[in-house]
Amino acid sequence: MDLYLLEAMVNGLLLGGVLALLALGLNLVFGVIDVVWIAYAELVMCGMYTVYWLHVYYGWPIEFACITAVAIVAILGFLVHLLIIEPILGAAPINQLLATGGLLFFLQSFATLLFGTDFRNIGIRLPVIEIANLYISYARLMAFGVALAGAIALYLFLKNTYLGTAIRAISQDREIMGLMGVNERRIYLVTSAIGGALAGLSACLLALQYDVHPFIGNTFGPITFMICVLGGLGNMIGGFVAAFIMSQIIAIGGYYTSTEFAYVLAFTFFIVLMLVRPRGILSA
């Protein structure tokens, strides 16, 4: 096989890891609370700015800047639920979409006001390493590893703890949760904070590869939603698989055509698959 094609595929795989992490957070929130956070990618943008300011402006070591960014975006997720979703939890889904859509424009405009539209880079240049004649960016390799570790940590949490079991149970029967001694509100707040933390973790990984600017969310938002829908909204395993399918289409398509056209191919694939399997690739 062509070495460059193989390299493109490896890069696609690495990109898939970060996309999978992004999709995981969005799917978790949707699966548990039944709310779509339209502004999810803007939370990622907030996390990227946090990393940038702490590291570049205040001179924090990158590790501490990243840990703080994860914590701050987790708090943001918590606040999104407390201030925006909770008051309209019983309302029609369209209202929740509009409210978090409003948050998207609010965050984009607020970031523009505070930071301007400059592209900012955290200025960390990680080396490109050579493995068996393949040139792979270390930043991408690390992002893939961390994303995978994050996904595994989430899986173990959901599988093995009481809180995790309650998070898996709640969408199956909300009313009965009280009889189990579960405070529904607390589950929603914890889930929102975890969703935020996943956005924050993605932000750290993306900050290593991309410049941050107020509209960076537009780069990842649509593809993340597409992946979630492709995997079946709320289906975390489906989203995980879909992330790697999409990233391969983008990588291989990009190799044979151009990066721009690769996205055309990816979205075409998405539209066709929605006609064939409207409830997601893993639906029965």
Partner: protein, 234 residues
């Protein structure tokens, strides 16, 4: 153990319970019988906190339950086996039981309690990694009762445990209530299967259109001409 005084409750402007008073003593098994729509399920939901009463008071072991949310009521030792079982269909049996042990006091005793529940229902142990949604009706009822027992309750509320089950399984469920009583639990059971429930309870209340119409020992209910005619077809 549990005492209700003048409880009225309903949904919105609809009233399902009118001035209901009821007592359950420690170690007793008490039944609530009555026709469809009499308010039996509402009564259970009021006790476990899923429905807030309009008025009246509820006391469990000397402490008021009025206005306490459901997720706190279970900590007072009241577990509710809801109507239609309401298992989590896409969780395994063991995860369903784990949900039953969510409250902190129950978590500490999880392993011991799980062993006891599996001893009561060996069937559940055999199938513990299966999704609850794949169980038969009788097995689901066992799982629902097991889930409630995981919280180490003092009082078990059972809402129509025999509903939708084959006669042979109904018999098994009632035998099981006897065994649970023998373990020292207090039981409040709602049933339409009047004849059989009167065999396992000490006392019963007759609830009709939201009001207590009659109460007494199961012997006195079994001998009551009106109840025999209306509810036992005798």
């Amino acid at each position: 153990m549990l005492s209700l005084q003048g409880v009225s409750a309903g949904y919105g402007s609809f009233r399902a319970l009118f001035n209901v008073s009821l007592e359950v003593g420690g170690g007793e098994a008490v039944g609530v019988i009555g026709p469809n729509g009499a308010g039996k399920t509402t009564l259970m939901r009021v006790i476990s906190g899923l429905v807030l009463p309009f008025s009246g008071s509820m006391v469990m072991e000397g402490e008021s339950l009025t206005g306490v949310p459901a997720y706190r009521i279970i900590e007072r030792g009241i577990a509710h086996v809801p109507e239609n079982r309401r298992l989590f269909p896409k969780l395994t049996i063991e995860d369903n039981l784990r949900m039953g042990a969510f409250i902190p006091e129950a978590r500490r005793q999880f392993a011991k309690q799980l062993e006891w529940v599996y001893e009561l229902f060996p069937r559940l142990k055999e199938r513990r990694t299966q999704f609850a949604g794949t169980l038969s009706g009788g097995e689901q009822q066992m799982c629902a009762i097991g889930r409630a027992l995981m919280s180490r309750p003092k009082l078990l509320l059972m809402d129509e445990p025999s509903a939708g089950l084959a006669p042979l399984i109904v018999q098994q469920v009632f035998d099981l209530v006897r065994r649970i009583r023998a373990e020292g639990l207090t039981v409040l059971i709602v049933e339409q299967n009047v004849q059989q429930v009167l065999e396992i309870v000490d006392r019963a209340y007759l609830l009709e259109i939201g009001k207590i119409k009659f109460s007494g020992t199961s012997v006195s209910l079994k001998n009551n001409e009106m109840i025999r005619k209306a509810y036992m077809g005798l």
